[in-house]
Chain length 217, copies 2
DNA sequence: TATGAAATAATATCGGATAATACTGTATCT
DNA sequence: AGATACAGTATTATCCGATATTATTTCATA
């Protein structure tokens, strides 16, 4: 199980990745090794290892002999990410709804329940825990596609989700009960084993989110 | 432009990745730092950086406190990779055929021509240059989807292609003129701007290749 | 102001030192 | 004999300092 971002004892990899996704390290900003060394109290060797990992995942850009930069953001990139999420996540969802067994269904019900509770807290104005909320959102989306049967697909999706998440955190606006209803409809379609409807609801969910994020970008 | 594998002055990253893909570093084998240090005449720091990069791309597995291993192979993994290639590459091809301009078409014609020449050499029994042949195959497939308009999609595809390539190199058998005809039909459909036919031909091409590779695995 | 050389800063790579962990082989006990 | 405990070895992970290469900035001169 992957560790969450704000856990105690998080590795410098997890901490830097978190800071990029949540905007504490601004897009395009230079990642000076000496500065990072103090901020994360790690040695240069360790830092270069994690920066290389983040570079190959696309959160950091490495320019030869000029060091590392936080990957810049752009509307085009956001649109690409969203489109890829539709392609991969809808595909995974179709497989998952077809193959999912009782365990999958149970975990999905639990994940949706926890997400729904958190969504109601957010709706009532308590937006102090965006990170927690987004963790439940992630757990829900992951639970939906968990039974797709392809580890490769799941790990590609995890990276895409995080890239998309960075854009959502940058604009920092809450979409309200629209998204809540989309989650519910998607969830119900999955439990009904209605592959086409579930996939369609997911696509709508992502595309609505994209529009909302683009508008504020 | 990414450097090819066997170029002079290749980085240790490129050399290790090449050795994994072409089987010189066997699947599942342990990557002892001291051994690698001699083999690639690089320092431990540099090696750990490249191994971290390769780990996040999926060519290497990192086990905490136990070092690095070449990612193992399995039938299931091969099938997953092939299915993902179908999903991503066919999607990219549809976009590319729709959007491709004159430059795209020109580069595609050139890439197909070079691939075809090499295929004829291979057909006449000269299989001494598998790496070159596969480079032309890569250049052709890349040229096909180049106009898809999504950098993210292209870079995901590049990793998938290399993972699939490793399996092909492991079984080391040549599929003969079947693949040649598939390439030609795919190419012609793209020039005709027949999106559906091109995508269908590509899917068939990958799935035939999968069957062939699975049979020898 | 523009140019170019010198000074400064930052990166990339290397080798070594140390601590923590994993592995191996031996001896002991049941 | 087989399992367990322990000591010794090997390997990894992290950190630090040194050096060479490359970027960037400063500044003197035309």
């Amino acid at each position: 199980m992957a560790k969450s971002y704000n856990e105690v004892g998080a590795s410098t990899y997890q901490r830097i990745k978190r800071d990029i996704i949540f905007g504490d390290l601004a897009p395009g900003s230079k990642l000076k090794l000496d500065g990072l060394r103090q901020r994360y109290s790690a040695s240069m060797s360790t830092l270069r290892e994690t920066l290389n990992r983040l570079a190959s995942e696309g959160f950091v850009e490495a320019q030869d002999q000029r060091g590392f930069f936080v990957t810049p953001v752009s509307r085009e990139d956001l649109i690409e990410i969203a489109n890829l999420r539709v392609l991969l996540e809808c595909h995974a969802l179709r497989l998952s709804v077809e193959k999912g067994d009782t365990d999958w269904e149970g975990n999905l019900v639990a994940a949706h329940h926890k997400l729904h509770l958190m969504e109601q807290k957010m709706m009532s104005g308590d937006d102090s825990r965006k990170e927690d909320w987004k963790r439940y959102d992630w757990e829900f989306h992951k639970a939906m596609i968990q039974a797709c049967g392809s580890r490769n697909l799941l790990s590609l999706h995890a990276v895409l989700y995080d890239k998309y998440l960075r854009y959502q955190m940058l604009v920092l606006t809450y979409r309200g009960d629209e998204a809540v209803n989309e989650h519910r409809r998607m969830f119900e379609a999955a439990l009904d084993r209605d592959v086409a409807r579930a996939s369609q609801e997911l696509q709508t969910h992502i595309e609505k989110g994209l529009e909302h994020t683009l508008a504020a970008f």
